[in-house]
Amino acid sequence: MPGELRQIVKKVVRVVAPGMLPVHRRMPGDNDPEPKERILDHTVGVDRAEYGSPDFDSCMTEREFTVKVGDRTHKVFFLVGHPRSGTHWMDAVLNCHPRAMIRGEYRFESLRNAFDDLTGNKWHAASREPMRAEAESCFAESVRRIVAASSVRKPGAIWLGDRTPRLLRVFLAGAPHFLIIRDPRDVLVSLAHQEIRNAGYNYRTFRFQSELGSTRDEFLADPDLFKKQPERLLASERWVRHLVRRWRNHMRFDLAMLKAIDAGEVQARVRVVRYERVHTDPEAQRSAMYRFLDLNPGEAAPLSADNGSKPGLSKENPHGVLRKGAVGEWENYFTPAARRWFQEVGGRTLIELGYAKDNDW
């Protein structure tokens, strides 16, 4: 088929039968059923909050995550989590401390993926030593230098952080990580708002225009659409199953990584932060976060609505990046059908995280 004709046919198929077109950007395991086995033998962030060990060689030497800028020495940390889990909020909380500065989003994973390609294929020159080791060292140096470039903004900060909603992958050995976890049903509500508003990554890449296009038009015209008709936010089965599957695979990857870190297979320290706990007891939780970085909580500025560090927002903004920041709001949006779709795709992972005792919710 000539190129122009093929393009026309593609456009028609995209509208008439979007499922017929191949989707290339899938996460590993996207279409697999939810595994029955638990990954951890405890509830993450509830029974335990910290993983890894400060006694790991990389954690003790601090070499891999330390960078010098002029006469100052900084250390690098990371804040990660599933999108719409509160990374912006934790960013604001951490920035209340004068010795910590965190910015986002850097998205080093795009560089890391390319780097893995550069060194991972056997016919690539950098897959062999000594080129491979040199490239690996350069990648870590790149991460440190890029983060250090921000240090001018807060010269008193010892810790420089990257806040990126992404998988828990360790790019600098030994570096401290915060992993924020939020009730995925609230995540889903928040994510659906944002994706529909912005025609976001999932909406575009997985071709939801035909199913959600008219809803999106209405939402753009009326920000209160889903407040008035909450059942419409999660009305599409493919939409709900897709978002839950993405969340589930993301979370299972993170849980498996926590297990690997705890076993010392990957050297790092992780503090798990539960969104709801910070909401309930922000002072105790943020103190623990500062202490995780060996910082004195007493030096931190008070939480404030002005810099977004206080839990929740005073007013809901359905079109905003920071929409509401509420806990348990999902109950307003989940229809019986949406609950069933969620339970079928991610119910076990929800239970493993301790957000439900069983699938009877």
Binding site: M1, P2, G3, V67, K68, V69, G70, R72, R103, G104, E105, Y106, R107, F108, S110, L111, N113, A114, F115, D117, L118, N121, W123, H124, A125, A126, P130, M131, E134, A135, S137, C138, F139, E141, S142, R144, R145, I146, A148, A149, S150, S151, V152, R153, P155, G156, D162
Partner: protein, 359 residues
């Protein structure tokens, strides 16, 4: 004492002024402010004990480094072009010169694309001018260090090269490049045999995995059967169309890049596979001279070094199968010609291989 952004008081003052100033005014004043208030230094380079630290301080350009141990200046260069266009052959020729060391495919283009993604969406921190500059420099350091690390087997080499079949694109700003072109019809034939002999078809395109896996066992036993253009990948219209389209994409992109790069002062030497085939000694000498090297110092082209055109005998199962020009005539039938013309006929004319579509 100059106002320094790195001092606490200076930093606060600068931030307050910046916050109060409209963006257009900031853009106008930025060069002057940078001159009197030097930016905070970037992260310090690695400790002096690092044997390759000098690769982070190239002089006088981004593609030249001086080894403190030997005092030698080493320069980096790149060989680009579509796959199956003779990059292996040209690498072998260049390596005949004692001052050249070219070591395979690095595929830095994956890092360049990642850098684009890292720096381009406006909500990424890497989009900011300083982060972008630091990220770009860090990537250049990675390139120089990784390539320099290859020189241990030939430390006297002054030119260190990367031979990656890829689009023409600058890796280190201003670094010399060799641009290799070959008739797309020969590329198609060569590419079609190439994928029947590789062990891991997933690396190319999942779309053709089934066909490749279907033909590969038979090809391993009876490669001669695949001389029939209705057999194997050449018998698949989709394969022919896609390969022709990709080759045409190379011609379009690289032609535009060639003009842009040479216009900006980057030295790019165009090497025609067919011209090199016809006059290999002259072609080799031109390449050496392009790098400022004396051709007389190079070893002669020879069959043993696989630097003379073509091969003694055709080996359908080898990465270097035949090395012929015009071999496509033995494989192209009406169907293949028609599809190729639809997808790459104009590119063939633009690249100078045909005057029109009447072939």
């Amino acid at each position: 004492m100059p106002l320094s952004k790195s001092s606490p008081s200076g930093g606060l003052l600068v931030r307050q002024i910046k916050a109060a100033m409209p963006s257009p005014l900031k853009a106008v004043l930025r060069p002057a402010v940078r001159a009197i208030a030097p930016d905070v230094p970037d992260a310090l380079p690695p400790a002096p004990t690092d044997p390759l630290a000098f690769c982070d301080s190239p002089l006088p350009n981004a593609w030249t480094v001086r080894s403190p141990k030997t005092g030698l200046e080493h320069r980096f260069f790149y060989l680009c072009g579509c796959w199956k266009s003779g990059t292996h052959w040209v690498q072998n020729i260049l390596n005949l010169h004692p001052q050249v060391n070219m070591k395979g495919e690095y595929h830095f283009e994956v890092m360049l694309r990642a850098l684009d993604r890292f720096t381009n969406p406006h909500w990424h921190v890497g989009h900011g001018p300083k982060a972008r500059r630091v990220a770009s420099r860090a990537m250049q350091n990675l390139v120089r260090r990784t390539m320099y690390a290859t020189t241990r087997d030939r430390p006297e080499a002054l030119w260190l090269g990367d031979r990656t079949p890829r689009h023409l694109r600058e890796v280190l700003p201003g670094a010399p490049m060799l641009w290799l072109l070959r008739d797309g019809r020969d590329v198609l034939v060569s590419w079609s045999f190439h994928w029947l002999r590789v062990k891991n078809p997933r690396v190319f395109n999942a779309r053709f995995k089934d066909q490749i896996e279907k033909f590969a066992p038979e090809f391993a036993l009876h490669p001669d059967r695949f001389r029939d253009p209705e057999t194997g990948l050449l018998g698949d219209d989709r394969w022919v169309r896609r390969t022709a389209r990709e080759w045409a994409g190379y011609i379009r992109n690289d032609t535009a890049q060639f003009a842009a790069l040479t216009g900006a002062g980057t030295p790019v030497h165009r090497v025609g596979y067919e011209q090199l085939h016809a006059s290999p000694h002259e072609g080799a000498a031109e390449m050496y001279r392009f790098l400022g090297l004396d051709p007389a110092l190079a070893q002669p082209l020879s069959t043993e070094t696989k630097t003379l055109p073509g091969f003694k005998s055709e080996n359908l199962k080898s990465a270097t199968r035949k090395g012929e020009t015009g071999d496509w005539r033995n494989y192209f039938n009406e169907r293949i010609s028609r599809i190729f013309k639809e997808e790459a006929g104009q590119a063939l004319v633009d690249a100078g291989y045909e005057k029109d579509l009447n072939w």
